[in-house]
């Protein structure tokens, strides 16, 4: 035996891959489950695919989708701006600004979004009127809360403030992950604090800010479905209005799920390219395609023999 081994030329040695029995069993179970689910989807009449097809591009569904997208874009934009301001306050040397920013994050991130939503919608119970009165000039404007706090406005305010709590933490972590030597080097070149932040620190922080912001956007897209409760006619609300009349609940929920998944997919692809842009200073070739697949389909590591 050992004689035979010593006589085999090196290049003829055969590699026997290690056997991953667990992997095989897991794969088998997955295939079975997949079969059961696929069969149910295809044969259970409750899914009613023709009805799904009928409503997929229904005008009120389209309008609801538009509203959901509009909400997502407005809220995300506002929360990035507010979040960045809060993060910069949090990193400032002033104790007061620092404490304020900390309290902001604590409250708006901590309180459930749904409760904040209902609160802002019912603001008129707390504040009847909002007015600005200046000495000598008199009252500049005065608004009844009920007149401007429409469901849409309430949704934008509530979810922006809530989301900004998360964004503040993301931006802060991003800024802190840039080595201090960068700002120091910029300072020694005569760049002032604003320039350093805008030209040196923030662009580098972006690489740490963009990926979680992408996730936040995807999260927010789905969180906006909460606005249904204060009767903003978003995607889910549109579907609900239809199935309240026709009782085609499941097919309409499938329609809703389809559109959410569709937009999430688009966002994931967009995120990939934005990340690539901000990561261009440390690019390795060949990994980007794989990263895209991972991002969109959640394919992590692929099983490989040995």
């Amino acid at each position: 035996m050992s004689r035979a081994e010593t006589q085999t030329p090196v290049e003829d040695l055969v590699v026997v891959p290690i056997r991953h029995y667990g992997l095989w069993i897991g794969t088998a179970i997955t295939l079975v489950l997949f079969y059961i689910v696929a069969k149910a989807l295809a044969t259970n009449p409750a899914f009613d695919w023709p009805t799904v097809g009928k409503y997929l591009f229904h005008p009120s569904i389209m309008r609801g989708l538009g509203q959901t997208l509009l909400l997502t874009v407005i809220i995300m934009t506002l929360s990035v701006i507010i979040g960045a301001i809060v993060a910069i306050m949090r990193l400032s040397p002033s104790k007061i600004l620092n404490a304020f920013a900390g309290a902001y994050v604590w409250f708006f991130r901590g309180a459930p979004a749904l409760i904040q939503l209902i609160f802002w919608f019912n603001l008129s119970l707390v504040v009847r009127e909002i007015s600005l009165t200046l000495p000598f000039l008199g009252t500049l404007f005065s608004l009844r809360t009920n007149d401007f706090m429409t469901p849409f406005v309430a949704a934008v305010i509530a979810l922006s403030l809530h989301e900004a709590g998360y964004m503040a933490e993301i931006v802060r972590a991003g800024i802190k992950s840039v080595p201090g030597g960068q700002a120091e080097a910029a300072g020694s070149l005569g760049m002032n604090r604003r320039l350093v932040l805008r030209r040196i620190t923030l662009p580098q922080a972006m690489r740490f800010i963009v990926p979680p912001t992408g996730n936040e956007t995807i999260n927010l897209l789905k969180t906006t479905s909460l606005v249904t409760i204060i009767a903003v006619d978003d995607l889910l609300y549109a579907a609900q209005s239809i199935y309240a009349r026709t009782f085609e609940t499941i097919p309409l929920l499938i329609v809703v799920a389809f559109w959410y998944l569709f937009v999430v997919t688009i966002l994931s692809i967009g995120q990939h390219y934005i990340e690539q842009y901000y990561g261009r200073s440390d690019q390795q070739q060949g990994v980007s395609k794989r990263r895209l697949m991972q991002r969109v389909f959640g394919i992590g590591r692929m099983a490989r023999p040995a």
């Binding site: 120091e184 910029a186 020694s188 002032n192 200073s281």
Partner: protein, 267 residues
């Protein structure tokens, strides 16, 4: 009389002084890192600072361009305070914009290079000239190419820092400091983070700079460089200047026992 002339009379600053320190003190909390430092660096000369770890060399260098505030004493660059204005016997902190303008004249090269990692070598060089000095992109770029050529990296303009060796990064960092036309260049152990075979190329660039008449303050462990290029050698230990002199004499014949001991360890 301008502030420079006032300082000159008041503190007895020599005419050709670039860096002038008298009784400079600096503490971090209760830790006194600099205890009354006196240093003179004349224009167009090279001062090398050596000393054991923790002796306050980096701290002193950072005080020169006001990255750290001193707690006492007088520290002037080209006859002027960097972070203050002297009026009626008081030191007034200057506005951020003035501090930045003065800092722009004081170049600094760091041990860990600190190149802006999201910018190419060229972009590193043109950033401050454009943003701080208001040069046009074309002017700044032309100048940057000349400087990159000068440090032997003409072909690396479009490389990101990550795509450069340590020695190349440090040479870009030196070029970046030069792009601001500084009056004086501060080096904080510029070769300590480099593999031995890359040290030479950086020292060569520094040697050329010294020959061209640049005023330099160099914290270094390269005794050979100090002996060859330095006009004066300053040995610091525990926050004080223990000994100073011409490098050749001091290395050959150190007076203080602490200097002797330190030199025997590094030579």
């Amino acid at each position: 009389m301008n502030s420079k002339a006032i300082n000159q009379v008041r503190f007895g600053v020599p005419d050709d002084s670039m860096v002038f320190a008298r009784g400079v003190r600096k503490s971090f909390g209760t830790l006194e890192v600099l205890k009354s430092i006196d240093i003179d660096v004349p224009k167009a000369s090279v001062a090398c600072i050596i000393g054991p770890s923790g002796s306050g060399k980096s701290t002193f260098l950072r005080c020169i361009n006001h990255l750290e505030e001193v707690n006492g004493g007088v520290l002037l660059v080209d006859g002027e305070f960097v972070g203050y204005d002297l009026r009626d016997g008081k030191l007034y902190e200057v506005k951020d914009s003035l501090l930045c303008r003065r800092r722009a004249d004081i170049g600094m090269v760091f041990q860990s290079f600190n190149l802006f990692s999201h910018m190419t070598a060229l972009e590193n060089l043109i950033e401050a000239p454009m943003m701080v000095k208001g040069l046009s992109r074309r002017e700044a770029t032309e100048k940057a190419h000349v400087l990159l050529e000068r440090v032997g990296l003409g072909g690396k303009a479009d490389n990101y820092p990550r795509q450069l060796s340590g020695g190349q990064q440090q040479r870009v960092a030196i070029a970046r400091a030069l792009a601001m036309n500084p009056k004086v260049l501060l080096f904080d152990e510029p070769t300590s983070a480099l593999d031995p075979e890359l040290v030479g190329e950086v020292l060569q660039v520094m040697r050329d700079l010294a020959e061209s008449g640049m005023t330099m303050v160099v914290v270094t462990h390269e005794i050979g460089f100090a002996r060859e290029v330095g006009d004066q050698l300053i040995f610091m230990d525990q926050g004080v200047v223990v000994e100073r002199g011409t490098p050749r004499e001091m290395i050959a014949n150190p007076q203080s026992p602490r200097t002797q001991e330190f030199l025997s360890r590094v030579l």
